[in-house]
């Protein structure tokens, strides 16, 4: 709904706001996977299989975007992350992904599944607006079932309110 309506403006905003202050990114990000590099190489010379999850991680700014409490809007920082994902997906057109939506533990179980659906779909819709075929993206909500950080504090909750893109193959 709202997501679709604002898609046209989003690209423009993204250009202006990349590098703007991170208002809600967690202070501590999850550890970087093995062999992470921020360059745009394909990673073939490091033994990473092109089009694999490792290749994806190695060539995007992050596999996940974060949300405010009970929110699901994709802000400027999220857009930059998703743009890097979209570029990789366009270089690997046969690859399909799952978008996992997650919520922190401060919502009730069923509501959090619905909230995770909102978040995963918001990310999916943004990738689609960048030209990624939505049929390549499947969505699943885990609600509060699979926290990335297990503390019960704002820092942990901020890491858990997330949509994560995972390569599932070709």
């Amino acid at each position: 709904m709202t997501i679709r309506k604002t898609t046209a403006m989003i690209a423009a905003i993204t250009m202006l706001s990349v590098g703007a202050c991170a208002k809600k990114a967690p202070d501590t990000l999850p550890p970087a996977p093995e062999g992470t590099g921020t360059d745009t190489g394909t990673g073939t010379d490091t033994g990473v299989v092109p089009g694999s999850q490792a290749d994806f991680i190695a060539n995007i700014s992050s596999d996940r975007i974060f949300f405010d409490y009970d929110q699901y809007n994709v802000d400027a920082e999220d857009q930059a992350t998703l743009r890097s994902q979209a570029q990789w997906l366009q270089r690997n057109p046969a690859v399909r992904v799952t978008l996992e939506g997650h919520a922190d533990e401060r919502g009730t179980r069923d509501y959090n599944i619905a909230l995770g659906e909102r978040r995963a779909n918001a990310a999916k819709n943004y990738l689609a607006s960048l030209g990624v075929d939505p049929n390549r993206i499947q969505v699943i909500s885990y609600g509060k079932e699979r926290p990335a950080a297990i503390g019960s504090n704002e820092e942990a909750w901020a890491q858990n309110r997330r949509a994560v893109t995972v390569v599932i193959g070709r």
Partner: protein, 452 residues
């Protein structure tokens, strides 16, 4: 099967009472672990003496001795009545055993001397058809009168049910409330680290007895609900990395999808007659509530607000549905007719209101209130009045009603990296708060009706 045998009871007692005294019962196997009691119970609870049930003749059926079974049944009766919060039972561990002849001729003076206003007597006898006959009597020690007389013919595996039925008869006679002990609970057994919990479907008696795991934990299982006939469980399984509502058939061990859809389906609930299922479905990120025949067919969409409409619970007459929606900007409770008409908000207090469950009595709706960083369980009337919070902890979530609408079970989660969930129950006073014994951690309890 549990078959009332009122007629044969009198006959058997007359013949049995002439028999010789029975030896003291052997040490019984321990019953379920004791609950943790948190509340401050009333000091003037009715004292009820519950000696071990007598046996006219010690016999062993299916490995169960009638004398030790008599003691175990008395222990379950005492535990049930204790859990109700209304009574102070003196179980078989604290009163003398009785002889068979006392069952219908209690020594009232003895029990008055123990300050017991009531005494429960009974017997266990091999039935001759591979089971037992259990007799259960309640007496008023002051008046010297009989208040309850019940008899059951049971299969060995059902012995706990005879105890629950006896406790129900006593509870109903003394409190005037409908029975609730002889009922079952479906819930989710949890284990493993917080970031990767293993969640299994499990079932048990309302007191934690006869526990059984249903699913093996390979697929995440959440939000089960027993069908009203206890033959099926509707729940959400993450089988094959999808979120879908399944109906699990307990006898066959097979399960089927409630509806075929590429979308996530979750938050299932039965109608009171077991013929229909409510569920929530997310389409493109927008969740609405649907109703479908339990036998399949095309689902009927009941809500179409752009927000999250989720959950739901039928009124006991099957004519209305209470559900939650964030259409106002935050989770609140609404009611509607079962065709989706007349949707109206009923919760207006501060904070958010979630997981509404209509009492089987129809008079109250239980909910989870979210506010101040905590979840608390409370009740309100179906029009939204009389809001009362019954619990006060970090996270108390997802109330489910006892069959008589007097007690609520829910799950309590503790905060932090080692945070765990456990099953609790509280009565409508909020005072009688207890933790239920489960072999692992537990969440998402769903309490079914009284067994026939």
């Amino acid at each position: 099967m549990l078959r009332p045998t009122l007629f044969s009871l009198t006959l058997m007692l007359t013949t049995a009472s002439a028999l010789a005294q029975t030896p003291p019962p052997a040490d019984p196997a321990p019953a379920t672990p004791r609950e943790t009691i948190e509340g401050e119970l009333s000091q003037d609870r009715t004292v009820i003496a519950i000696p071990a049930l007598a046996t006219p003749q010690v016999a062993t059926v299916a490995g169960l001795r009638t004398d030790s079974l008599g003691r175990q049944i008395a222990e379950v009766i005492a535990a049930d009545l204790e859990r109700s919060g209304l009574y102070a039972p003196l179980g078989p561990g604290s009163v003398r055993a009785i002889e068979m002849g006392e069952v219908r001729a209690p020594r009232f003076a003895d029990w008055q001397a123990r300050n017991a206003e009531n005494v429960v007597h009974g017997f266990v006898q091999a039935s001759g058809t591979g089971g037992f006959v259990v007799g259960c009597y309640l007496y008023d020690t002051q008046l010297g009168s009989e208040l309850v007389r019940q008899g059951f013919e049971i299969q060995p595996a059902d012995w706990r049910r005879a105890a629950h039925k006896c406790a129900d008869a006593i509870y109903s006679r003394l409190s005037g409330e409908a029975p609730f002990f002889d009922s079952r609970v479906a819930y989710i057994a949890e284990s493993g680290p917080k970031g990767n919990r293993i969640k299994r479907l499990a079932i048990m008696d309302s007191d934690g007895g006869n526990h059984r795991f249903i699913t093996n934990g390979q697929a995440l299982a959440i939000s089960p609900r027993f069908s009203p006939d206890y033959k099926k469980i509707v729940y959400v399984s993450y089988l094959n990395d999808r979120v879908r509502v399944f109906i699990y058939d307990i006898a066959s061990g097979s399960q089927k999808l409630v509806t075929e859809s590429g979308n996530a389906t979750f938050a299932p609930r039965w109608s009171p007659d077991g013929r229909q299922i409510l569920f929530s479905m997310a389409v493109g990120g927008n969740t609405d509530i649907y109703r479908v025949s339990a036998d399949g067919g095309t689902p009927v969409r009941l809500t179409n607000a752009p927000g999250i409409d989720v959950g739901g619970s039928f009124s006991p007459d099957g004519r209305k549905i209470v559900f939650e929606s964030d259409r106002s900007g935050s989770q609140q409770i609404y009611t509607m007719n079962i065709d989706g008409s007349d949707q109206r908000r009923i919760s207006f207090g501060g904070g958010r209101y979630a997981t509404p469950e209509w009492s089987p009595r129809g008079d109250l709706i239980a909910f989870t209130r979210i506010g101040g960083g905590e979840f608390r369980v409370g009740v309100m009337t179906p029009s939204g009045g009389g809001v009362r919070l019954l619990t006060n902890s970090w996270q108390d979530e997802a109330p489910t009603w006892s069959p008589n609408g007097r007690v609520i079970q829910f799950f309590r989660t503790s905060p932090g990296r080692d945070g765990k969930s456990s099953l609790w129950q509280v009565d409508l006073t909020g005072v009688n708060l207890r933790r239920l014994p489960t072999p692992q951690d537990g969440s998402d309890p769903s309490w079914g009706p009284v067994l026939p």
